[in-house]
Symmetry: C2
Subunit: 160 residues, 2 copies
Amino acid sequence: MGSEIEIFRSYIKSKGLRNTREREEIVQEIFSNKGHFDVEGLYMRLKRRGSKVSKASIYRNIPLLIDSGLIREVSYKDGHMHYEHVHGRAHHCHLSCIECGKVVEFVEPSIKEVEKRLESRYGFKIIEHRLDVMGYCKECLKRRLGKVKEDEKTRRNGNG
Amino acid sequence: MGSEIEIFRSYIKSKGLRNTREREEIVQEIFSNKGHFDVEGLYMRLKRRGSKVSKASIYRNIPLLIDSGLIREVSYKDGHMHYEHVHGRAHHCHLSCIECGKVVEFVEPSIKEVEKRLESRYGFKIIEHRLDVMGYCKECLKRRLGKVKEDEKTRRNGNG
DNA sequence: TTTACTGCAAAAGGTTTGCATGGGT
DNA sequence: ACCCATGCAAACCTTTTGCAGTAAA
């Protein structure tokens, strides 16, 4: 918290939008709690706090929060969308090239969903995961494609 | 196709439900196409085919198709749910207990989506992946919880 | 002063449901 | 004959939107 509202403020400013009491209240309320939230719950929390923010404003501001990288949609359950905080730099996974060994680090938030499902399905308490994806990188693909074409040419010349 | 409708028929029978022309048409239409679908699109396809199935019936049968393991929800986009086929037994991943070493095999179709995203983002051609998830199993969790409680008791007795 | 933002309420759009009818078993 | 499944249309619920007023910049 604190840093989130600053991120949001500078996002708003960078977009030439206006910072309002309502926006501050919404961001504040979202990040005053850890974990998922939905519009109805957020609206209730704000109301309880004495805020007069309307649901329409919540709905209108969620796209900004997503675009600013502060939250993301996690799932559509029980007839409505659920959101969660996106924290700083997340755990990353590896994508590596079978041929040249190049490694690309990538962040894959959806694995959290996988973990959640595993927890509820198997009763585990997930501590960590490791996702390694392997394949051919763009360059090696091109090289391989070139080779194939060369082979074909050789074959044609040799046979025809 | 073919096998899917058989799976559905036996599912219906096993549940003591009734097989109807509408159900056959829905399943047939879903599996006559590869890839994702949504209710609106499916409804249109059926209509075009001359079927008189109503949307209500589609909506009422989707839970059965999900329960029978033939389809699954993939995403909620553009204001409505999207579904996809679930094919036979897919590649499986591992969920293992840090404490007792127990291993659960699970199938995680959503990794396919991850792979697709990686391919388009990084230009790789993905060949395989390996997802290992680690945590504490239900039994070990219980045991650990018991230990914590015992420790607390000991502490209380020792201090009070 | 300009015009983006807000609240309200109505509208939109996907999904569910009540009811009477039709059809499997 | 029983009663599950269907079609229709209304209801439901979340989300979006039009409008007039409000308030940032």
